[in-house]
């Protein structure tokens, strides 16, 4: 058992996600940065998508029973009763803390992750607070190599479209030539980008269309939003490009103020 001590910034329980329910309006969820959840879980000898804590800020955990705990630095620690572990904010936007056996929260609608907009999953469907007590699960141990930390330096590969007919050639060129900055309003719903404003032909009658994680929507403000794991399943803004799936973590790991470029 671990108790949440000091907490700064949003922290929730997240796992590998609940894919397959978009037709019910339920987004796929899952970790913002799969590589980092996988590293924390590998160090705790869990399966890569086991439920763990995803934290946007600093976090202190206190053991209420002996526990094996690991963060995305890839090192496991044994905590005795009363011992504390402090997860510090590092250079990535979010960090992960796994416990051996996973965090024992119920499977809700196919996953253990928190979906804040619908207030279900995770720990009581809400962000973690000081004083919350989380139990370790009893998932059998797995032995896997920890994997590499996520690389947030390179340009992020995208597939252009599917709404290219809403943008002219200059705008598409500007999108690929620009360096964007991660905006402070970013969260699990979407990563907001500032910098170049992209022009798209207004179409107030555009019907709501299905969306996927990684879709780069261009709202009327011209500042793109890259949809995150908890995105609305439908949306009315045109999509200029979509992030290649295995690079979603590289984008989502970039903290506020970091930069990103996109390449085809």
């Amino acid at each position: 058992m671990i108790e949440i001590g000091a907490i700064t910034g949003l922290a929730t329980v997240q796992d590998g996600g609940r894919p397959g329910h978009m037709h019910d309006g339920v987004p796929p969820g899952g970790p913002l940065v799969p590589e980092l959840l996988g590293r924390a879980n590998a160090a705790a000898r869990n399966a890569p998508g086991e439920a763990a804590i995803e934290a946007f800020g600093g976090l202190t955990l206190v053991a209420r029973a002996p526990v094996v705990l690991a963060s995305d630095d890839g090192e496991a620690r044994v905590l005795a009763i009363g011992e504390a572990y402090a997860l510090r904010r590092e250079e990535t936007a979010v960090r992960y803390v796994a416990v051996r056996g996973g965090i024992a929260v119920p499977v809700v609608f196919g996953g253990r992750g928190t979906l804040l907009v619908a207030a279900f999953g995770g720990h009581e469907g809400r962000p973690l607070r000081r004083g919350d007590v989380l139990r370790a699960g009893d998932a059998p141990p797995e032995h896997r190599p920890p994997g590499l930390p996520v690389d947030t330096a390179p340009a992020v590969p995208v597939v252009l479209g599917p709404d290219l007919d809403r943008f002219d050639a200059e705008t598409i060129d500007a999108f690929l030539a620009s360096t964007f900055t991660i905006d402070a309003r970013s969260d699990r719903v979407g990563t907001r980008l500032s910098g170049t404003r992209l022009v798209c032909a207004p179409d107030p009658g555009a019907p709501s269309a299905p969306m996927v994680r990684g879709a780069i929507q261009v709202p009327p403000s011209g500042e793109p939003i890259v949809l995150g794991p908890d995105h609305p399943t439908t949306g009315g803004y045109p999509v200029i490009a979509t992030v290649v799936r295995r690079h979603l973590g590289s984008l989502a790991a970039r903290p506020i103020g970091a930069t990103v470029r996109f390449v085809t």
Binding site: D24, G25, P28, P210, P232
Partner: protein, 202 residues
């Protein structure tokens, strides 16, 4: 003529549907295709998602078969939703529509609606079938928080907010005794389902 499927990233494809397509039939057909992880169909688009290294085959054919068959594998359901018509925007909507508030209520409660798409929030159904006199745009200033079970109209749609959420729809009432989303059974409203509203207490 073969249906065009455009890449939507490397893990999804999107098709443009003809006007009047039976969305429920398309959704049922796509979900039955092997290796499809998820499918979502709106009024003019169908999207399937999959693992990038396991792309499904036969998607265009599945959509075409569903479009020509016209009926879905699963039968649509009927829902009756009780509403307390005392929404904050009822009077303003009546003014914009040139009607008395009582007429707005009667017109809304007399309609028969069809779930045209499910999306935005878990269990949020966009219902078609609104009387043309009640078709007004969204509010110019969206509210930061709309209460769950609010019944609202915007453009050609009416719908029920399943969860507290920001939103720009015009609020006309509150659903009573209805659960738009349940964590065991999912969304109450599915594509093609029929919905009627009745005035609570009548």
């Amino acid at each position: 003529m073969s249906l065009l499927l455009r890449p939507f990233g490397d893990g999804a494809l999107r098709a443009h549907l003809p006007e009047g397509a039976n969305a429920r039939a398309v959704l049922d057909a796509l979900r039955a295709v092997p290796r499809v992880v998820d499918a979502i169909v709106t009024e003019r688009h169908a999207v399937v998602s999959f693992e990038p290294e396991a792309r499904p085959d036969g998607l265009a054919e599945a959509i075409e078969r569903a479009l020509s068959a016209g009926s879905a594998a699963s039968a649509p359901r009927d829902h009756i939703v009780r509403v307390r018509y005392e929404g904050e925007d009822l009077d303003e909507l009546a003014i914009r529509a040139g009607l008395a508030p009582a007429d707005v209520i009667s017109l809304h409660a007399e309609g028969t609606y069809v779930v045209a798409l499910v999306g935005f929030l878990p269990g949020f159904g966009y219902l078609r079938g609104l009387d043309p006199r009640l078709v007004v745009p969204r509010r110019a200033n969206p509210r930061p928080r709309i209460l769950p079970l609010s019944v609202a109209v915007a453009g050609p749609y009416t719908g029920i907010y399943p969860f507290a959420s920001p939103g720009g729809w015009n609020l006309i009432g509150t659903a009573v005794g209805f659960s738009p989303f349940d964590v065991r059974s999912g969304a109450a409203l599915a594509l093609g389902d029929r919905v009627r509203f009745v005035r609570d207490g009548s």
